[in-house]
């Protein structure tokens, strides 16, 4: 059941090979790869890299052309270049918010799953309360309290997303506790730490990874909504959600201004969702049966 150290690299290789054969997962990987590339190489790929902070009022609201591939915005800045730098913010928000949610949610789920008693119940009830309210509503309340800024958006998203990980980890840990190999490890005198680190965590890694991938998409969507509502990082940050909000008063004439960042959000979130679906098929044989004989 548990892969030993020697086979773990080949297990990772197995996952990658299977993903490459799953058409939708492959599309997801390509989309995420493109996003990462756009973010890393933004200064190189941008045609007007200084436009994030510079103003060119004379060039405002120009239609897409050879010089400005996706047109210009209300400040005369190149939409395409700002989009590339916006990818950095999107990745930053997604990675830190999901990472922080993992750091909170996984330990909470492990503790609640391992021990039986009022403390475990309390932990899960608290996460249930978070799950009982739509994430965007809570995130709005927190972001409004803290004020619009990049760290506060990340904080609001982390504070509202960790219960999803706690739920998954808790459920999986409880299932594992009924397994004979866990029971025998306990009987052999393994400490809770050893049991968790060597036996429980490796066996629940799959659902956590799947949840993290889907969580990236979900978090990026919520972050864009917060940006759109004016709760994101303040201008001139090229955040995609805020850019869409800014573009509204120039419709229907400056159609490119609103269209481009929305497409960027769409493709990014789709990438993480498709990868999450693919990972679920490859990593979780129990669910694969549910989704039935190869869906591609």
């Amino acid at each position: 059941m548990r892969p030993s150290k020697g086979t773990s690299t080949s297990a990772a290789w197995f996952v990658v090979r299977r993903l490459a054969h799953d058409r939708s997962a492959l599309v997801g990987l390509i989309l995420i790869g493109a996003l990462l590339l756009a973010a890393l190489l933004a200064p190189v790929l941008a045609t007007h890299p200084d436009d994030v902070f510079e103003l060119h009022p004379a060039l405002r609201l120009q239609a897409p052309s050879g010089n400005h591939w996706l047109g210009t915005d209300r400040m005369g800045a190149d939409v395409y270049s700002r989009l590339l730098f916006g990818a950095r913010i999107t990745i930053l928000i997604g990675v830190i918010a999901v990472g922080a949610s993992l750091l909170i949610g996984v330990p909470v789920g492990l503790v609640a799953g391992h021990f039986h008693g009022w403390f475990s119940d309390l932990l899960m009830r608290v996460s249930d309360i978070f799950l009982a309210v739509p994430q965007v509503v809570l995130a709005i309340a927190i972001a409004q309290t803290l004020g619009p800024s990049l760290p506060n958006v990340i904080l609001a998203l982390s504070a509202t997303y960790w219960p999803w990980f706690a739920r998954v980890v808790y459920a999986e840990t409880r299932v594992l506790q009924k397994e004979i190999f866990v029971e025998s490890t306990v009987a052999l005198g393994a400490s809770p730490w050893r049991l968790t680190a060597l036996h429980v965590l490796p066996n629940i890694a799959s659902p956590i990874i799947v949840r993290a991938s889907i969580g990236m998409g979900f978090t990026i969507l919520t972050a864009a909504a917060l940006g759109f509502l004016g709760l994101g990082p303040p201008p001139p940050t090229p955040e995609w959600g805020r850019t869409i909000a800014e573009s509204r008063e120039f419709l229907p004439d400056a159609w490119w201004y609103a269209t481009a960042p929305g497409l960027a959000i769409f493709l990014t979130v789709m990438g993480f969702n498709l990868l999450g679906d693919g990972l679920r098929d490859v990593l979780d044989p129990r669910l694969r049966r549910g989704r039935t004989a190869r869906d591609d």
Binding site: I140, T145, A225
Partner: protein
Amino acid sequence: MRLLALALHRLAWFVPTLLGLLVLTFVISRVIPADPVALVAGETATPAQVEALRRQLGYDRPLPVQFVDYLARLARGDMGTSIFTRRPIVQDLAHRLPATIELTVVAMVVSVLAGVPLGVVSALWRNSPLDHAVRVVTVSGLAIASFWLGIMLQLLFAMRLGWTPLNGRLQGFPPEAITGFYLVDAALTGDGPAFGAALRHLALPAATLAFPALATLVRFTRAGVLDVMQSNFVLYERAMGLPRPVIVWKYTLRSALTSTVTQIGLLFGILLAGAVVTEAVFDWPGIGTYAVSSILQSDYNAVMGFTIWAGTIFIVVNLLVDVVQTLVDPRERAT
């Protein structure tokens, strides 16, 4: 009797959840901010005004005392006064609730009417071109930012084609208020033109709101039908030589759709969360637009009031769904 006990058990869960929500909003509004009173007073208040307000609101007392006071105020239906409308926040929200409910219900009906048949069809004809087309729709529905979808729909149907109004709930006078739902009121008073106008205003926001919910519903229905199609009892019916239509219509769908129906609680959550941004895009005069304009005006109490309302509505709907599910689905009773 057992059923009643189960329903009561679920009901018992309601009170602590609601209390938990209130603790959460209390922590967000009183404990996290450096100076909660400054937030409530707004950006234009002078330091002297802030101090006066602090004593008036009792924010200078210990937190536990404040929390009890907070609960007592909420129990009386007092959420404070909006700095912007100068009216009690509870009144503002109650006044705007019918618009949100009308939009949400229409979106729910649209997503169920379109989503369930699409899910069934794509499961029955798995891997057909139709199934692939449906999958593209569902993948898109879960990845699209609803505020952007709304803006794109406005751009195309309202600005370019001129088929629908750009935003709002109705131009001119609303139909005579009976229920507060324009469609229902117009139908009751036999006001045909108002009904048509209300429907045209609803089209774009309802479509925007319904799309992600529809995608979720299609996915869930499709997986449910496929699961049942591969279960042992369907295998047995096939082996017994039952014709496919009988297996599909009589046995598979009944079994698969029971669990789909119970997803309405989940669906409602998606719709309620989506309503905040969708309403903002279409200037729909519901509680979502109220929340957004309160954010923009830094009307702090109003934002917290909205959070409590939205959270409470959501918890109540989930409670109802849970109870109904227990009553409808025999499998739930076993556990």
